[in-house]
C-alpha cells in the first residue's frame, strides 16, 4: 500500500467514528491530515521511504477509533426538573380532560331523566367520550414520558408531543 492510500484510508476510518457538526469533523480531519503529512515528511528527512514513513506516522497517531473517541465530549448530566415545572407538559391536557370527564359523567348520568337526551345527542356524547378517552390515554403516556425524562431529556419532548396531540384531540372533537 502506498503512502497516499494509507493516509486516505486512515482518514476515512477516523471519519466513520467522528460525531458532531460537519464543519467540526472537517476541521478535525484536516488537522489530522496535516499532522500525518508533517510526520511523514519528518520521517522521510531521516531517510525512511514514503510507504514506511506513512505507516509509522499513522501508528504514532494511534488507532482511528481511539483518536475519534478523544474528540467526543461527554454530554452534560441531564438536569432534573423538579416541582410544578416538571408536570407542565401535561398540566393543560390533564386539566381539560378531567373537566371534560366530569361534564361527560354529569350528562351521561342524566341521559334517562325526564329531560333526557335525544338519539343524536347520545351519539354526540359517545363520540365526545371516545375523544376524551384518547386524550386521557395520551396524557397518561405524557405522564410516563415525564417520569422517563429524569434519565433522558429526549423524553420530555415526547411528553410535550403527547400533550399537543391530546389538546388537538380535545379541541377537534
Amino acid at each position: 500500500m502506498n503512502s497516499e492510500t494509507a493516509i486516505t484510508n486512515y482518514l476515512s476510518e477516523i471519519a466513520t467514528f467522528l460525531r458532531g457538526a460537519d464543519s467540526e469533523r472537517k476541521r478535525i480531519l484536516e488537522e489530522v491530515e496535516t499532522h500525518i503529512r508533517d510526520a511523514v515528511a519528518g520521517y522521510e528527512t531521516q531517510g525512511v521511504d514514503a510507504a514506511n514513513a506513512a505507516t509509522r506516522a499513522i501508528a504514532d497517531f494511534g488507532p482511528a477509533a481511539t483518536v475519534a473517541a478523544g474528540f467526543i465530549t461527554p454530554d452534560p448530566p441531564t438536569p432534573i426538573i423538579r416541582g410544578a415545572r416538571r408536570w407542565l407538559p401535561i398540566a393543560l391536557p390533564a386539566a381539560i380532560s378531567i373537566l371534560s370527564a366530569a361534564v361527560f359523567i354529569l350528562i351521561w348520568a342524566n341521559r334517562s331523566s325526564r329531560y333526557g337526551l335525544t338519539v343524536g345527542e347520545r351519539l354526540t356524547l359517545i363520540l365526545y367520550g371516545r375523544h376524551l378517552l384518547i386524550a386521557l390515554a395520551l396524557t397518561a403516556v405524557g405522564y410516563a414520558a415525564i417520569i422517563r425524562a429524569d434519565r433522558d431529556r429526549q423524553w420530555r419532548r415526547a411528553a410535550w408531543g403527547c400533550s399537543i396531540v391530546a389538546l388537538l384531540v380535545l379541541v377537534i372533537r
Binding site: I28, E30, E31, T34, H35, D38, A39, G62, T66
Partner: protein, 96 residues
C-alpha cells in the same frame, strides 16, 4: 499545563507542539499524537488557547496561540506545580 507552557513561547501548530514537547523533555515525554488535538480542542473550548488557519508554509495548518486567560491559567498552574514539587522535595529530604 505542558501544552500551555510550550505555547507560551509563541503560537504553534500541533505537529510542532508535539515535537517541541519531545525536544524540551529530552525525549522523556512522548506525546500520544492522537490525543494532542482533542486536548487542544478542549483548551480552546475553555478559552485558554485560540486557533486560526495559517497558510504561510503553503500547507494549511491550524495555528494555536495562548490567550490572556491561558497565560493566567499557566501562571497559576505553574505556581501550584512548584508548591507541589517543593512539598515532595521537603518530604523526601526529611527521609534522607
Amino acid at each position: 499545563m505542558l501544552l500551555l507552557g510550550v505555547l507560551a513561547s509563541g503560537p504553534a501548530h500541533g505537529y510542532a507542539l508535539a515535537s517541541e514537547l519531545h525536544r524540551l523533555s529530552n525525549g522523556l515525554l512522548v506525546v500520544v499524537e492522537g490525543s494532542l488535538y482533542p486536548a487542544l480542542h478542549r483548551l480552546e473550548a475553555s478559552g485558554l488557547v485560540s486557533s486560526s488557519w495559517d497558510n504561510e508554509t503553503g500547507r494549511r495548518r491550524r495555528l494555536y496561540a495562548l490567550t490572556a486567560k491561558g497565560k493566567k491559567a499557566l501562571k497559576e498552574e505553574t505556581q501550584a506545580w512548584v508548591e507541589f514539587r517543593d512539598c515532595v522535595d521537603e518530604v523526601l529530604g526529611g527521609l534522607a
